[in-house]
């Protein structure tokens, strides 16, 4: 167990190194740079800017300097979008917002999606199945730039139950609508995957054995079927979680949330390398951690897998 964790930690560091290297060179390969503007910048000013940010040095030297700084924990300052501000400061301010929103959204997605999928699988090809799957399909087809304003209009405007914009970390009600908008799509995905996984398991012989033994229906589902039936859904959770955090740009702009998504898109549009690198490394850490946790949960749920891993 501890060896496996240490092993994965090493792999995670390697992932971050490769990720950082790729990001650095990809950003520098972009057909535009942070020192180009709609208004032409005078040559002497541009040269001065390039000097300050070390862009006058050869690319490999720049890479080496950046690598050294990052390893020492210095992410540098934003070159363009938030000119001069420490990237670590920006992340420290915006990331908790995105993280809270993402966690809240995932909680909503799991508590709606998985029970709905289980119910649909148990009542396959009957009314609950059709209704749940139709709603899920609607959730997948209606993009969040449609769902978000609709929810804001209905729950925020007409009913006045929740605030429609602004972000207050102390008030869960202000977070509810954006988290719901973000979580509904994942809930729809989860319900379909859960249904597929459960159908797969409910066919199997050990379920029939449990039934023949006279075990109660809900105990069969909870104790025997869920373990295997949730395999695809849990595999989806890792990427989905990271996706809700990195992909919340639209929701951030609908509900005026000071998260990381909008800054990140702006950084990409301007080629602001430091402000791209910071979030990318953070996402990388998040993805590696989320997928590791998912793998652990899979091991815990699946005795066959444990036996294989031990062998």
């Amino acid at each position: 167990m501890w060896r496996e964790i240490a092993n994965r930690l090493m792999q995670g560091l390697l992932v971050l190194f490769v990720l950082g290297t790729l990001t650095f060179f990809l950003v520098h390969a972009l057909p535009y740079g942070p020192f180009q503007d709609e208004k032409a910048i005078p040559d002497n000013v541009r040269e001065r800017l390039e000097q300050i940010h070390g862009y006058d040095k050869p690319l490999l030297t720049q890479y080496w300097l950046r690598l050294n700084n990052i390893v020492r924990g210095d992410l540098g300052t934003s070159i363009k979008v938030m000119e001069g501000r420490e990237v670590s400061d920006i992340l420290l301010q915006a990331f908790p917002v995105s993280l809270t929103l993402g966690l809240f959204a995932m909680a909503i997605a799991i508590s709606i999606g998985i029970p709905a999928g289980v119910l649909a699988a148990i009542r396959k090809n009957r009314a609950p199945d059709y209704i749940i799957m139709a709603v899920a399909l609607l959730g997948i087809c209606l993009p969040n730039f449609v769902i978000g304003p609709l929810l804001a209009e209905f729950f925020g405007g007409r009913l006045g139950w929740f605030p429609v914009s602004g972000w207050d970390p102390r008030s869960p009600s202000a977070m509810f609508l954006p988290a719901l908008t973000l979580g509904l799509v994942s809930a729809a995905y989860l319900s379909r995957l859960t249904r597929a996984g459960m159908l797969e398991i409910l066919h199997q012989d050990f379920i029939r054995t449990a039934r023949a033994k006279g075990q109660k229906g809900h105990i069969i589902i909870i104790r025997h079927a869920l373990r295997g039936g949730l395999i695809p859904s849990i595999a989806f959770l890792g990427p989905a979680f990271a996706g809700t955090i990195s992909g919340s740009v639209v929701v951030e702009s609908i509900f005026q949330i000071p998260g990381i998504g909008r800054l990140f898109i702006k950084a990409i549009e301007t080629g602001d390398e430091t402000l791209i690198m910071g979030p990318v490394l953070l996402y990388g850490t998040l993805i590696v951690t989320a997928n590791f946790l998912v793998d652990l949960i899979q091991l815990w749920l699946n005795p066959r897998l444990r036996a294989r891993a031990a062998a």
Partner: protein, 327 residues
């Protein structure tokens, strides 16, 4: 098995129905699929929509989708404009059909690419495990975290130089009018880029299912019979993991179609006057309070397409499921 075999035996078009080895996984599945009413309905609706999008726009009766008519903007449905007009007075029905071609192509091509890569990577990682698994899954982690947008921007910029060559080649291949296909050839690199990066979730899901299946008794049996890894994977493991695969494929299609709209707004992808369902839905969403029809009509086409794809997908899942013949 009973049921499927009787179907095969009753069907005179299968020449070797009498011999035992006569029906493959696929011919069996096709027979079962044909008897699934929901799947066949889905197939018919899908066929109809594809037909409409790919043939009707060439009929002269349909208004030009780019033709603006500012005095007649935001009109309600009428005989001359079946679904009304948009904020610039363009015929919505015509725009939906023209846009459908792009969306359907984006959806199908990229999903095919991502499905092929995702299933292959996931199945190999889940089946072989160990170092191969670690390498493949860490690669997936890296690709997940790389900023998708940068890669698409770079890829489009890189491919721009080859667009006219590609167009020439396609004109030579198909004999189409150069002007008619030129706006679409620029999209092909985009299709490939989206497809090449959207296989990550599929691979994680397939890997999880394959890990579970690889430990079951029938795989042990197949191994002890001395079957090759390739054959075990293709014939015994992947058919058993088909449920999540089909479901995720039907989920990828809409997300890719909508992602294309996001890219178009960032200056890549389909550019005006051309459009796609994603763009029409996005345009409609911006004006949903003043003219909800602009959102509703494109959404109906979008949802109908996905609904039929889902029925087809579910039918395909049931047909391919090795265990479903027992019921």
């Amino acid at each position: 098995m009973e049921k499927s075999r009787s179907i095969t035996a009753n069907n005179a078009t299968i020449p070797d129905a009498g011999t035992d080895a006569g029906h493959s996984l696929w011919s069996d599945a096709w027979l079962r699929l044909r008897h699934n009413r929901a799947a066949m309905c889905g197939c018919a609706v899908l066929g109809l929509i594809i037909l409409m999008c790919f043939i009707v726009p060439f009929l002269p009766a349909l208004p030009d989708p780019a033709q603006q008519d500012l005095p007649g903007k935001n009109s309600t449905p009428s005989w001359s404009h079946w679904m009304g007009t948009d904020h610039l007075g363009r015929d919505l029905f015509s725009r939906i059909l023209h846009g459908g071609r792009i969306s359907i192509l984006v959806g199908l091509i990229t999903t095919m690419v991502s499905l092929t890569i995702g299933v292959a990577v996931g199945a190999v990682a889940g089946y072989l495990g160990g170092k191969v698994d670690a390498f493949l899954m860490r690669t997936v982690d890296i690709l997940y975290s790389l900023p998708f947008l940068i890669i698409v921007i770079l890829f489009s910029a890189l491919a721009k130089g080859y667009t006219s060559d590609l167009t020439d080649w396609l004109v030579g291949l198909t004999g189409f009018n150069r002007d008619a296909i030129a706006p679409f050839t620029g999209l092909i690199p985009l299709f490939v880029a989206i497809g090449a990066l959207s296989w990550l979730s599929i691979s994680r899901i397939v890997r999880a299912s394959v890990q579970d299946i690889a430990g079951r008794e029938f795989v042990e049996a197949a191994k002890s019979l001395g079957l090759s890894h390739r054959r075990i994977l293709m014939r015994h493991i992947i058919p058993n993991a088909i449920g999540p695969i089909v479901v995720y494929a039907t989920l990828t299609i809409p997300s890719v179609m909508l992602f294309e709209a996001t890219l178009s707004f960032l200056g890549m992808g389909v550019q005006p006057p051309y459009s796609s369902w994603g763009i029409l839905i996005k345009d409609g969403a911006d004006r949903m309070l003043s003219n909800p029809l602009l959102l509703i009509f494109p959404s109906i086409f979008f949802i109908l397409t996905l609904l039929s794809l889902n029925f087809l997908g579910d039918g395909l899942r049931d047909a391919l499921d090795p265990k479903s013949s027992k019921d």
